[in-house]
């Protein structure tokens, strides 16, 4: 029973953090600096989440590096999210298989 209390607390706290600002913040931000911060924020968040985590994401550095290069290459070619994601996975998978043959 205690476990369900734990689960309830986790779900409630996590939801309220997301919900309160989205539901009740109604101002249009006009300050140019703040607008800039909000514009750049998603890229900054993604950057720090991707590097260095991508290099350990497959549990082994060579396949992760091959997958990263594949993602970088297709990203430079502006391919879609799913294409880049699957290409990185496939490249990492093939690299790990080849590595296993050595």
């Amino acid at each position: 029973m205690k476990l369900y209390l734990y689960l309830l607390v986790m779900a409630a706290v996590t939801y309220l953090i997301r919900m309160l600002p989205l539901a009740f913040f109604r101002k249009k931000i006009t300050n140019p600096f703040l607008l800039g911060v909000l514009h750049y924020m998603p890229f900054a968040v993604l950057g720090t989440m991707t590097v260095p985590a991508i290099f350990t994401s497959t549990g082994e550095p060579v396949s992760a590096m091959v997958g990263t290069l594949a993602a970088l290459l297709l990203g430079l070619k502006r391919r879609s999210l799913i294409e880049v994601a699957l290409a990185a996975t496939a490249a990492a998978y093939i690299a790990s298989l080849l590595l296993g043959l050595l």
């Binding site: 476990l3 734990y6 689960l7 607390v9 986790m10 779900a11 706290v13 996590t14 953090i17 997301r18 919900m19 309160l20 600002p21 989205l22 539901a23 109604r26 140019p32 600096f33 703040l34 607008l35 800039g36 911060v37 909000l38 514009h39 750049y40 924020m41 998603p42 890229f43 900054a44 968040v45 993604l46 950057g47 720090t48 989440m49 991707t50 260095p52 985590a53 991508i54 994401s57 497959t58 549990g59 396949s63 992760a64 997958g67 594949a70 993602a71 970088l72 297709l74 990203g75 430079l76 999210l81 799913i82 880049v84 994601a85 699957l86 990185a88 996975t89 496939a90 990492a92 998978y93």
Partner: protein, 235 residues
């Protein structure tokens, strides 16, 4: 300005869902080892939809921690969602009702935020629902698969799936950095501070959630200061 519908959301959510499937698969295998039963794990994933917060939460639960401790841990690790929610309010379509805002809020994760906030134009309620759908299914289903059938997937494949989500991130940030020097600067500054905070031992007390908040705010501020955004834009 273009507005997007449910199907656009589904399409954008597919890579996130695939990435979540693999990440939650791994999470479940780990969490079962911490002593949480499979059914409760699926409930946990379905009701929380967050990775770092769930890992921290399971750690606290497994250690028999206090409810207050659990609540505080979740608050700190997930504080970044509040920041993301505020950012998203600036892009919501005027037709978004209060109830719709409350529903859409459930699906705000790092990845869903990243995709929706970098979409050009305004965000509609159907788009946000479509966007949240497959990630939620992927996250919950992956947890169930990991908890009940963790050993069935070939190890090499489940390992390779770990990179899917980051590949998707690359698909967002690489073109962004090509188009705008400011974006490149924001990424560079954010990654730079992130590396310092993660690897310089003095900062080892910082949780991953805090590292993300600090380095992202820093990167965005540096870019906003050196490369101001002109006019209204669609920030």
């Amino acid at each position: 300005m273009e507005a997007y519908g449910y199907r656009d959301g589904l399409r954008d959510g597919l890579p996130i869902g695939l990435g979540y499937l693999s990440v939650s698969f791994g999470f479940a295998i780990w969490a079962v080892k911490q002593g949480i039963p499979g059914l409760e794990l699926v409930l946990l994933s379905g009701s929380n939809l967050t990775s770092a917060g769930q890992v921290a939460g399971v750690t606290v639960i497994a250690a028999g921690g206090l409810l207050v401790e659990l609540a505080l841990t979740e608050l700190i690790i997930n504080l970044r969602y509040a920041l993301m929610s505020v950012t998203l309010t600036q892009k919501l379509h005027p037709q978004f009702s209060l109830l719709q805002r409350m529903l859409a809020a459930f699906f705000i994760t790092d990845e869903i935020f990243a995709v929706s906030s970098t979409r050009k134009g305004l965000l509609t309620f159907p788009y946000m629902m479509g966007l949240g759908c497959l990630p939620w299914i992927g996250w919950t289903l992956g947890t169930a698969l990991g908890a009940f059938a963790g050993t069935l997937l070939p190890a090499a494949l489940s390992a390779a799936l770990g990179i899917a989500i980051y590949g998707m991130f690359m698909a967002i940030i690489v073109p962004g950095a090509m188009e705008e020097k400011g974006v490149l600067l924001a990424i560079g500054a954010s990654v730079g501070l992130g590396l310092v905070l993660r690897y310089v031992p003095v900062f080892s007390f910082l949780s991953e959630g805090f590292v993300i908040i600090l380095s992202a705010v820093f990167g965005a501020c540096v870019a906003a200061w050196l490369k101001p955004v002109r006019g209204e834009g669609d920030a």
